[in-house]
Amino acid sequence: MTSPASGKTPKPFPGVRPIGRPFWLLLPGVAWLLVFGLAPILFMGAVSFWRSSIFGTTPDFQFGNYARMIEEPLYVELLVKTLRIAALTTILSLIFSYPLAWFLASRKGAWKAVCVVAVFVPFWISYVVRTFVWLPILGRNGLINQTLMGLGLISSPVEWFLYNEGTVYLGLVYVYTLFMTLPIYLALEKIDPKLIEAATDLGARPWQTFRHVVLPLSWPGVLSGSIMVFLLAVSAYVTPRLLGGTSGIMFGNMIANQFLSNNNWAFGSALSMTLVAVVALFLLVVGRWVGIREVFTGGKG
C-alpha cells in the first residue's frame, strides 16, 4: 500500500490553492468572449436561416438563403475575388512594410523616435478620411491629373486612376499597412544585434544573415501582420465603396447592401456567415501550416 501522502499533492500552505485552480478568475474574460464574440455570431447564424420578404424578416429554419448564394454565380465569384484582393493586399503590404519596418528598427537614438512618430502619426486620422483623401488626388480634376496636364504630358484627364480594383489595392494597402509594419517592427526591434554580428563572424554574408537569422526571428511578426491585414482586407467595406466604383466592389459591400438597401437581413446574415466560415477555414489552414500558437503569441522570445 502507498502511504497516505502519496495519493494527493501535499498542500504547501494550508488555505492557499495551487496555481491554476481559481477558475473564477477566468470569468470576466470568458464573459467578454461570450457576449461580444460568440453571441453575435450565434444570432447571425440563426437569422441566416430565417426568411426575409418585403413585409419583414420572420423566424424559420430553411436553407433558401444558402441555396440562392450557391445558385447565383455572382456571389461565389465575388467571394473569390474578395479573397484574391485580400491576399494580394496582404502581399503588397508585406512588400511595402518589411523594408519600412527594417528602416525604423535600424535607426538610432532620437532619430528613431522621430521616424517612428512620423510613420505612425497619419494613422491617428480616421481611416475614412484617409480613404477619402485619394479622391482629390486621383480624381478627374485631382492633383495628379492637374499636374500631368500642367506639364503637358497628357492633354485630357486620365479616367482610370479611380474606381477600379487597382484603386482598391492602393486604398487598402495604404489604410492597413501599419497593421503589418508594427508587428514586424516590434519583432525586428527584439532581435539582439549581437546575433547579427555572430552570424557575420561565422561567415554569413549580409544576404545569408538576413535569410538565416533576421527573417526567421522576425517571422512571427510577419505572420501576425499578415493575418491582421488579411482579416481587415477581406471584410473591407469603406475602401471599395469609396474608391472601387462598380468594378471594385467587394463581398463586404454586398453584405452591407442586404442590410442597408435591400432590407434582406436573412440573406445578409447568410452571406456574413459564409465569409466568417471561409475566413475561419483559412486561419485553420494557415495555423496548421505554421503553428497557430506562434501567430498569436508572437513566437518564442
Partner: protein
C-alpha cells in the same frame, strides 16, 4: 586543426593600431605579436580597450590607424565573414531559433559545406566540448555552462586560425567559471589553436595564459608570461593591478654591483632588485608584495643596514582563511602589510606585539619613477 602549421610563427601581428571614438582614444598606438598556438590574454580594467582591440581583430571595428595581420596577411580590408577568425561573445549570442546542432553547423552551412561533412564535423565538435547527444536540444533547454560549450563548438567547428574570446566566462558563477577555465585550457592545448582571451580577472588570466598583455587606457603596459608580469612588473600600474603590494617611494642610497640597490624611505632602508641602474639620490618605487614579506614574533636581533628587515609593531591583524594579514608599523618609515601563511606561529602573533618583518632583496622590485 592548425596544429600542423609551424609553431614559433606569428599568428596575429598588431602594428601601431589606434582607434578613436570621437575624442576617446580607445586604443593608442598598440603593437605586439601573438604566436601560433599561444593562449594570449588581454587583461585590464573596464574601459581600457580590450574589447575594442578584439573586435578590431575580428573585423567589427576599423582601426583609425595601424595594421593588423593574420598569418602574415593584412586583414584590414576584409569583412568579418571573410576573416579566418571566430569570436565568442560575452553573452554568447547563440541563435535562439535553432537547436544546438544547427547552431554549431551554422558556420559550415554558410560556407556551403556538403551535408555529410557538416554532420560529421558537428558531431566531432560536440564531442570535443563533451556535449554528445545534446544536438536536438533547444537553446533554452540547456544550462549556462552547456551554452558556453555550444558557443565554443560553434566557433571551433570552423577551424579558425585565431579564436577570439571576449570575457566568455563573465556571466558564470564562480564554481562553473573555474571548471570552464580548465576546460578552455584543455581544448586550447588539445587543438594547438591560437586563443586571444579578454578578461578583467587577473586570476583567470594568470591561471590560463601563456602570455598576458596588461592594458590601461588604450595602451599596452606590459607583455609577458604570468610569472614575468607578477614577479617583474615594469611600472606602478602593473604592480597595483596584479596582486597586492606595498608601494613605497624612496631615494637611492646605494647601488651595488650585483644589481641590487638600497633605497632610503623616511629612514627605513629597503634593499631590492633594480631593473635599471639608478644614480644615487634618484627617486625609486619599491614594490613589496604582501606575501613576499615574512613576519616573526619577538625579533630583537635586527640585521641593521642590510635593508632586508625591520623591527615593527603589529597594528592590525586580519584572519583571511588561507592567509593571515598583518599591518605593521616599523620604528621608522611607512607601514608595511604582510600576508603570512596560516600557521600556528602566525596565529600566535597578536595586535600590539613586537615583530620582525624581513624580505629577500631578490623579491623586491625597484622601479624608476
Amino acid at each position: 586543426m592548425p596544429a600542423d602549421k609551424a609553431k614559433n610563427a606569428v599568428a596575429v601581428a598588431i602594428h601601431r593600431v589606434s582607434k578613436r571614438f570621437g575624442s576617446v582614444a580607445a586604443l593608442d598606438d598598440v603593437s605586439f605579436d601573438i604566436m601560433r598556438g599561444e593562449f594570449f590574454s588581454l587583461l585590464g580594467p573596464s574601459g581600457c580597450g580590450k574589447t575594442t582591440l578584439l573586435r578590431s581583430i575580428g573585423g567589427f571595428e576599423a582601426p583609425t590607424a595601424g595594421d593588423i595581420q593574420i598569418d602574415g596577411q593584412s586583414v584590414l580590408h576584409l569583412a568579418p565573414y571573410a576573416r579566418p577568425t571566430n569570436m565568442i561573445f560575452q553573452h554568447l549570442a547563440l541563435f535562439p531559433h535553432m537547436n544546438v546542432r544547427d547552431n554549431v553547423a551554422f558556420g559550415l552551412r554558410m560556407k556551403r559545406t556538403d551535408a555529410a561533412t557538416t554532420a560529421r564535423r558537428v558531431e566531432e565538435a560536440l564531442a570535443l566540448v563533451r556535449l554528445e547527444g545534446y544536438g536536438d536540444r533547444g537553446i533554452d533547454q540547456i544550462s549556462g555552462g552547456q551554452k558556453q560549450r555550444v558557443a565554443m563548438a560553434r566557433a571551433l567547428v570552423n577551424d579558425p586560425a585565431v579564436l577570439l574570446l571576449d570575457e566568455p566566462l563573465g556571466a558564470l558563477d564562480l564554481q562553473l567559471r573555474l571548471q570552464m577555465q580548465v576546460e578552455l585550457r584543455r581544448l586550447q592545448r588539445q587543438l594547438g589553436a591560437t586563443f586571444v582571451f579578454v578578461t578583467h580577472d587577473q586570476g583567470e588570466a594568470m591561471a590560463m595564459s601563456d602570455r598576458i598583455a596588461v592594458m590601461n587606457s588604450g595602451r599596452i603596459q606590459q607583455i609577458g608570461t604570468p610569472a614575468e608580469i607578477y614577479e617583474r612588473p615594469v611600472n606602478r600600474f602593473v604592480a597595483t593591478f596584479i596582486g597586492h603590494a606595498n608601494l613605497i617611494e624612496g631615494r637611492v642610497a646605494e647601488q651595488r654591483a650585483d644589481g641590487t640597490a638600497l633605497i632610503d624611505v623616511e629612514g627605513l632602508r629597503v634593499a631590492g632588485t633594480a631593473q635599471a641602474l639608478a644614480a644615487p639620490g634618484a627617486s625609486m618605487l619599491a614594490v613589496m608584495r604582501y606575501e613576499k614579506l615574512q613576519i616573526e614574533a619577538g625579533g630583537n636581533a635586527s640585521v641593521a643596514g642590510t635593508g632586508t628587515s625591520t623591527l615593527a609593531t603589529v597594528s592590525e591583524k586580519t584572519y583571511m582563511g588561507a592567509a593571515l594579514r598583518f599591518v605593521c608599523r616599523p620604528g621608522v618609515g611607512p607601514t608595511l602589510t604582510v600576508d603570512a601563511p596560516n600557521t600556528e606561529a602566525g596565529r600566535a602573533i597578536c595586535e600590539g606585539d613586537s615583530v620582525r618583518v624581513s624580505w629577500a632583496a631578490s623579491e623586491i622590485n625597484l622601479l624608476a619613477e
